[in-house]
């Protein structure tokens, strides 16, 4: 019968260690040089806001988060397009476009590569009426922009009930200087 032998063995050893144990076994090691060794493996990634939430089905989220951006379009554009046309009446019919003149395939081809495009030459904004996808500023109402592109149709007028969440600004003013984000509550 296999019993609790392993406990027995350790108990004997521990008797010995107990008697030799002193109370100063909490050596404090002062480490002046932090350890930066090791390999770090991908867990999560993000480019544009809410893309993952909206277009990636839960079964694909793990894979999406560990697919490098240069391969995302090939792997996920079709799924994005299916989800977009299923979700939005503004893309329900062939030939439907958003206000950027993109049809479902073009739009989802852009979205499936989840990177943020940033201009180094001037205004940086998700969308300000003039500039499109030149960055993402703190005050940008990115969700409404995305909703408009998804639901708003060719001229941003379709499905008004779905194309604005009616939350247009942060609840605390941003700072004009670094670190820009408001102090915590």
């Amino acid at each position: 019968m296999k019993t609790i032998k392993s406990i027995l063995g350790i108990a004997l050893i521990s008797l010995f260690t107990l008697s030799s144990c002193s109370s100063d076994d909490n050596t404090i090691v002062i480490d002046n040089t932090p350890d930066f060794s090791g390999t770090f493996a991908q867990q999560d990634q993000m480019g544009r806001p809410a893309v993952n939430t909206v277009f990636v089905g839960s079964a694909s989220k793990d894979t999406f988060n560990t697919t490098i951006p240069s391969q995302q379009s090939a792997a996920f554009q079709a799924m994005f397009e299916t989800n977009l046309t299923g979700l939005s009446p503004a893309f329900a019919n062939p030939g439907d476009q958003n206000a950027l003149g993109q049809d479902a395939a073009t739009f989802t081809g852009l979205l499936a590569t989840d990177v943020l495009n940033v201009s180094l030459d001037g205004t940086t904004t998700f969308f300000d009426g003039t500039n499109v996808l030149t960055g993402r500023a703190l005050a940008d109402d990115v969700i409404t922009v995305e909703l408009l592109l998804i639901f708003g149709g060719e001229d941003f007028t379709e499905n008004p009930n779905l194309s604005d969440d009616n939350v247009d600004a942060n609840d605390k003013p941003f700072l004009s200087s670094f670190p820009y984000l408001a102090s915590p509550w």
Binding site: M1, I4, G9, S14, S23, S58, A59, D62
Partner: protein, 431 residues
């Protein structure tokens, strides 16, 4: 005074004398743990209360914001952890159930939150059904797989548990290592269990995550206790208290060392009483009853047993304490027929070696040792290596005339006297 009562009971005094006259080496030092006992405020409770107030007021203002239910639930869980107040666990469940209904059980993360709650409530079968849903959904599948391992092991589905273990056993993560440790412990390989848990501890220290550090210190302390490394166990309970001076679990561990190893029941009771002023759990009363028995204070023992029984009448406890209830009914109140009913129910809900041991042991106490042995041979022997179950097996072997086998077990059980405590150690002695 308690000592006097003990002396009046023939046949017992000699045992008590031998216990008290040969004290074990003293390991604990009241000066180092008193600071934690004297902590007047429960900081975790205060913080959890503030968090609770914040999210409930937000939820009241915007009832459609269902993610807030997850936050209210989490505050309730923290309050349960900090105070032991069972209603918080049940409240947390109702928020999480609402959350999952709102999201039609399509959010794997929300499902896992509810499962964690059900596991705390010992509602393992419901947990399994939900995890199987989450497994289909994906979305952090590795987390679902790890919880499937947990629940299958709790349900006694050893093969299924091993299948999930095989998915992640080579993963060098905290989450994987603590489960590998649990698996080794389940197999009776304590050395390997300790090694894996020590690795997990290093991971938690590496991440500098206080909560995981605290968790691994107390779990490692338990393992060191199993292994008879009492000093190491004590030091790790202290390390947990350094991080959280209100850690009731770590304090209880120290109380056990003081009682079981140092044979100082009065000090153990003093520690327990300070814990109980901030943290509620029915099992404290069982521990107090056991200490009272050791001190020969039978009235005090009875009082604590009755308190335990009346507390667990609270429906909020669900099935969390049913196995203890069965033990108390059969061993203390000779109500074996009710105990068998409960044990059978426990076997149905959770067919683990521990549940079968409970059932077999109750049959034995009822006088049917042959039936007990039959159950043990089928479901307990070689399937669990916990000393209490082993002790039960030894008693049943002895009662059925298998003296040699019982004696073999006795020899080994004698080595686990710290972990089973002085009262049971004495039973083992008399096997």
């Amino acid at each position: 005074m308690n000592f006097k009562i003990a002396f009046q009971i023939l046949g017992v005094c000699s045992i008590l004398m031998s216990c008290t006259s040969t004290p074990s080496q003293k390991i604990t030092n009241a000066e180092s743990y008193n600071t934690y006992l004297e902590i007047a405020e429960n900081k975790s409770e205060q913080t959890a209360n503030e968090i609770y107030t914040f999210w409930t007021s937000k939820l009241e203002k915007s009832p459609n914001q269902y993610p807030y239910h997850a936050k209210v639930a989490s505050a309730h869980s923290q309050l349960f952890k900090a105070t032991g107040e069972i209603s918080h666990l049940v409240e947390a469940a109702s928020h999480l159930e609402l959350l999952n209904e709102r999201t039609k059980y399509q959010n794997a993360g929300y499902i896992r939150s509810l499962v964690r709650n059900y596991i705390s409530q010992h509602r393992f079968q419901e947990a399994l059904v939900l995890l199987e849903k989450a497994e289909v959904l994906g979305e952090n599948l590795q987390a679902t797989q790890k919880m499937l391992f947990d629940v299958h092991l709790e349900l006694g589905n050893v093969d299924e548990a091993e299948t999930y273990l095989n998915i992640f056993k080579n993963e060098n993560s905290f989450d994987a290592l603590i489960r590998l440790s649990k698996w080794y412990d389940h197999e009776g390989n304590l050395m390997a269990a300790i090694k894996a848990m020590e690795k997990a501890k290093f991971k938690a220290e590496d991440a500098n995550n206080n909560y995981l550090k605290q968790w691994s210190y107390t779990n490692l302390a338990d393992f060191y206790g199993h292994a008879g490394r009492i000093k190491d166990a004590y030091n790790h309970y202290l390390k947990a208290l350094e991080l959280d001076p209100n850690d009731a679990y770590a304090k209880k561990g120290i109380a056990w060392i003081v009682f079981s190893y140092e044979k100082n029941p009065a000090e153990a009771l003093r520690i327990l009483d300070t814990i109980m002023s901030q943290h509620k759990a029915p099992d404290y009363y069982l521990l107090k009853a056991e200490i009272a028995e050791y001190m020969g204070d039978i009235a005090e023992k009875e009082k604590n047993i009755q308190t335990f029984l009346s507390i667990i009448e609270d429906n909020n406890y669900g099935v969390m304490y049913t196995s203890y209830e069965a033990s108390v009914l059969s061993e203390e109140l000779q109500n074996t027929s009710k105990a068998i009913e409960i044990a059978q129910q426990e076997v149905k809900l959770r067919p683990t070696p521990q549940s079968y041991d409970l059932l077999a042991w109750t049959y034995h106490l009822q006088g049917d040792s042959t039936k007990a042995l039959k159950i043990m041979k089928a479901h307990v022997i070689d399937k669990t290596f916990e000393p209490v179950a082993m002790y039960h097996v030894a008693e049943v072997l002895k009662a059925t005339g298998n003296t040699a086998e019982a004696n073999d077990l006795k020899e080994e059980l004698l080595e686990s006297s710290f972990e089973v405590g002085p009262i049971m150690a004495e039973k083992i002695e008399r096997l």
